[in-house]
């Protein structure tokens, strides 16, 4: 049965019918309708269910505050749960009712909401396109401001200002107001929604008002509607939501709304206090109570209820604005001053609201039938129960009942719940305001907030110039920071373990090449560069000869190891320092911080050159032959090119730099060339080296090789609580060279305790058993928890060179425990291991120097 009135409806276009489907049935609405108004026009009043109790519910409001009429939109866009009052009717719309909760299973399978981000800088942002908002926008435009006006609804009644510097958005909700005029706006553009990041010199909140209901028995039945909402359906959409109405209002606005209904041909059968509404699936009969207490029943299909008008102050409160209870208006209005850039105007400020007799719920009848929060199915009785349980604060009541926490965020129930709490506690109606408000002011899909930052665009991916070759070769990659690094290169039938054993064996017996381009590289230049590096590293860099390389350890002020790398002295006043792959940005930041904040007089400039250089690390006893075969004019002979020096020259026909430096314990040459030559040099090394037994190897083999040699990886064998002394690296700390960062801390009492955790090696009793990294260690396996833990495993591998498993660990007083047995109690059984020196391979370094 059509409820469309023969005339009227300022928002609809009667010449443009719109077909849509709701809950499996085809309907027709009009352009300008919302889904809610179109349903009402088709006589669909009920059809919704409450989420917890499954009670029949109908359309209560005409705006985004709607608690009952929630729908899922299936076409032409996807919205998992949204009020029907906020869904613009479009041709082909398909929707179905949703009982207050989204179907997250569907959320997982659906393509998901799509979003994009836009930015806007304005002098004046006006939130709300009602009369006060339009006036504020007009006067701002008049004085030449750039203006942004955002209106939550789908259209604006009235004429907003126009011009090049004025932007007006409808269907746009301010989700949150933050410091210094930063406002995030959710703009429901379809199918790709928009999140506007607005920075405004002035923010004007013209956020209007929401009407509140009055809880009575049966007040949640379909056919109970807020009075002003019913009037809006008549005026905007030309729809009469009922034929015979009862009016239950405590202000003039409610009675004015009744007049609108009357003019539309709806009979008003009674006015006054409603004791209860009756009906199975919708209102059929209403029991009224007269002043003298007598009761009278009337037949009606519509109850217009108005318990008063609440200024919409969600955004005001979320930035710390206060509230004051206005006795005459029976509502909370803004109190005190907010940030200097923020003002509240119009109805939101309490202007023009009707004097109202406070009435928070109807006395008489079963309180468990008087619903306060329709989305949480919470009643007057539920509030009373929490107070009887001893709760007093509205914040506690909210958390006990969940009132105000549903999708509608308590727009119709928040003030009501607070006032009911106040009344039940025997306090004034303004004793406690509604519970706190936080952004977002309306639900917004994560996909919309994420915008394009998903999938490949979630985080930048960094690849080296040789990446395509690794992919071609079937490398398995691992993420190191943002870098993709080959972890290993599986041969036919190989898994991680067998591939790594093969790669390690090749490096120990012939040669291997690793793409080391991701190493952090920083050029440190300037006359004071030597003095500066002396302060940043634990050892002396100022006496490093030009052409030489020195390993360096970097500490925090607290004396803990934060990074390591090597320094190459390129010239008297120029160094290239390397960092760990993950530590490059952090090291450069540290350099800059010290230079700018403590030593601005030092003439030093630091430049990141990580991506300018590609690096091929050739390791192994045949490394010299490999580099020679790849072609170079650098004299590679042992005496001419000693360990820890570098030479400039040509490599595979291109200019570059060769550094004789090793992280494997084998003879090794690092080939540094301009990034754009990286792939060429890598390919030349591979071609020349493969006949000599050279294999490409990845980070996993690199980890095993360095651990066999007892070289630590900062961040794996250290965790920010480890000093050089703990690592057995006193040899690199030079306290006599002058002050350096972290030096004074190394003398602190806690850092010289003999029982600190120290780096040791571990050899499991069963040479085939591998300790899990992170395993805790005990001296005695009592079989009963708790056991006193004395350390933990930091690195653990199967070694081709040793023919067995081994590990590195941090163990209390570990250097005094060499030869002792420790235990790792694990769920699958205890592993015993002998404590050893952490250097398992070539402890004298013969292979490095004499290779």
């Amino acid at each position: 049965m059509s409820r469309l009135l023969p005339a009227g409806g300022t928002w609809i276009d009667r010449a443009r019918p719109v077909a849509f489907r709701f809950d499996g049935t085809e309907y027709q609405g009009l352009a300008g309708d919302t889904l809610a108004s179109a349903l009402l026009a088709n006589g669909v009043v009920a059809g919704f269910r409450s989420p917890i109790l499954g009670r029949p519910r109908g359309i209560l409001t005409a705006g985004p505050e709607e608690p009952n009429a929630l729908v899922e939109v299936l076409e032409p866009w996807v919205d998992l749960v949204v009020p029907a009052t906020a869904v613009p009717l479009v041709e082909g719309l398909v929707a179905r009712p949703r009982a207050g909760t989204a179907d997250l299973g569907r959320a997982r399978d659906a393509p998901g909401a799509l979003g994009r981000n836009r930015h806007r800088h304005v002098e004046t942002l006006v939130v709300g396109g009602g009369p006060a908002g339009l006036a504020a926008a007009a006067s701002a435009a008049e004085r030449g401001d750039r203006v942004l006006l955002v209106e939550e609804g789908s259209r604006i009644d009235g004429e907003p200002p126009s011009g090049d510097d004025v932007l007006v958005l409808t269907a746009a909700t301010a989700l949150g107001v933050y410091d210094d005029g930063y406002v995030v706006v959710h703009h429901r553009t379809r199918p790709v929604e928009t999140v506007w990041h607005v920075r405004a010199a002035r923010v004007v909140l013209a956020t209007g008002w929401y009407e509140r209901p009055i809880p009575f028995v049966g007040g949640d039945l379909p056919g109970v509607m807020l009075a002003t909402a019913a009037a809006r359906y008549v005026e905007r959409y030309g729809v009469a939501p009922g034929e015979a109405a009862v009016v239950f209002a405590n202000s003039a606005w409610g009675r004015q709304a009744a007049d609108v209904l009357r003019e539309a041909g709806c009979e008003v059968v009674a006015e006054g206090t409603v004791l209860r509404a009756e009906g199975d699936e919708r209102v059929r009969r209403v029991v009224m109570r007269a002043q003298d207490g007598s009761e009278r029943a009337v037949e009606a299909d519509l109850v217009l209820v108005s318990g008063g008008i609440n200024p919409n102050l969600t955004l005001w409160r979320s930035i710390g604005g206060g509230l004051r209870f206005d006795e005459g208006l029976a509502c909370f209005v803004p109190d005190g001053v907010g940030p200097p850039w923020l003002t509240v105007v119009g109805a939101a400020a309490g202007e023009g609201l009707p004097p109202t007799e406070p009435l928070w719920f109807v006395e008489g009848g079963d309180d468990a039938e008087k619903f306060v929060d329709l989305q949480r199915d919470q009643t007057v009785a539920d509030i009373r129960e929490t107070l009887e349980g001893g709760l007093r604060s509205i914040e506690h009541v909210k958390r006990a009942t969940y009132i105000g926490t549903a999708i509608d965020q308590g727009r119709t129930s928040g003030v009501l719940a607070a006032a009911i709490v106040n009344a039940m506690l025997g306090e004034g109606p303004g004793a406690q305001g509604p519970s706190g408000a936080r952004p977002p002011a309306e639900p917004v899909a994560f996909g919309v907030l994420a915008g394009p930052r998903r999938g490949e665009l979630l985080d930048p991916v960094r690849t080296t110039p040789m990446h395509a070759w690794h992919v071609e070769r079937g490398a398995v990659f691992e993420d190191v920071g943002q870098w993709k690094r080959p972890r290993y290169y599986p041969g036919p039938g190989e898994d991680l373990e067998s591939a790594v054993l093969r790669e390690c064996a090749a490096v120990r017996t012939a040669a291997g090449a690793m793409d080391a381009s991701t190493l952090g590289k920083i050029e440190v230049a300037g006359p004071d560069a030597p003095a500066f590096l002396d302060r940043m590293y634990t050892n002396r860099m100022s006496n490093l000869p030009v052409g030489s390389i020195r390993y360096g350890l970097m500490l925090g002020l607290d004396g803990m190891v934060v990074d390591d790398g090597v320094a190459m002295r390129l010239a008297e006043d120029r160094y290239l320092v390397t960092t760990t792959t993950g530590g490059a940005a952090m090291v450069l930041d540290r350099f800059e911080e010290w230079l700018q904040t403590e030593w601005p007089h030092l003439r030093v400039f630091c430049t990141s050159v990580t991506e300018q250089w590609a690096v091929v690390a050739v390791n192994g006893p045949r490394a010299r032959e490999v580099v020679a075969a790849a072609g170079t004019d650098v004299e590679l002979a042992r005496e001419a090119f000693p360990h820890m020096t570098f030479r400039d020259g040509r490599i595979a026909g291109v200019p570059g730099r060769i550094a004789r430096v090793s992280f494997s314990g084998e003879l090794a040459f690092e080939l540094h060339v301009a990034a754009w030559h990286g792939l060429h040099v890598w390919e030349r090394v591979m071609e020349a080296g493969e006949p000599l037994g050279l294999v490409p190897y990845g980070t996993e083999a690199m980890h095993v090789l360095r651990a066999e040699k007892g070289y630590v990886i900062v961040g794996q064998d250290t965790d920010g609580t480890v000093t050089p002394h703990d690592l057995g690296m006193d040899w690199i700390v030079n306290p006599s060279k002058g002050d350096f960062v972290g030096r004074r801390s190394l003398r602190r009492a806690d850092l010289v305790r003999p029982d600190r955790k120290q780096l040791v090696g571990l050899l499991p009793a069963d040479p085939d058993e591998r300790l899990p990294e992170g395993a805790q260690l005990v001296l005695e396996d009592t079989g009963r928890v708790p056991m006193r833990m004395i350390g933990h495993v930091t690195s653990s591998y199967r070694s081709a060179a040793l023919g067995r498993t081994f590990a590195l660990a941090l163990v209390e007083g570990g250097r005094e425990r060499h030869g002792r047995t420790v235990f790792a109690p694990l769920p699958e059984g205890t592993i015993a291991a002998t404590v050893t020196s952490p250097v398992f391979w070539d402890p004298e370094g013969v292979r490095l120097r004499e290779g």
């Binding site: 933050y178 410091d179 210094d180 005029g181 930063y182 920075r199 940030p339 002020l557 607290d558 930041d589 800059e592 911080e593 700018q596 904040t597 403590e598 601005p600 002050d739 030096r743 004074r744 801390s745 003398r747 602190r748 009492a749």
Partner: protein
């Protein structure tokens, strides 16, 4: 999100900056002269006032320069930003 006035780049969004803790804590001229307690005081102890706080920021996604700010820890209002080594304007 705060709007922070970089002394070199002007007002920019907070996400372009990184916080650097309390300002005007100088590295001791002779750390060896300090007792463990004095050194720990320099290393770990910081003020936590309710009200104006002089602190360091770095425009890490901009000019990468460090500077100082005087910010209210109550209202987040930043009264002044100024280069390292300078005193706050009165």
């Amino acid at each position: 999100m705060l709007l922070i006035r970089c002394p070199w780049c002007g007002p920019r969004d907070e996400v372009e900056f990184r916080y650097g803790g309390q300002a005007a804590i100088s590295y001791p001229s002779d750390p060896d002269a300090l007792s463990d307690e004095q050194w720990a005081d320099y290393l770990f102890m910081r003020d936590n006032p309710k009200g104006e706080f002089r602190e360091r920021w770095v425009h890490v996604h901009g000019c990468r320069r460090w500077f100082q700010a005087v910010r209210s820890t109550v209202t987040h209002e930043i009264r002044a930003t100024f280069p390292i080594g300078e005193e706050p304007p009165s």
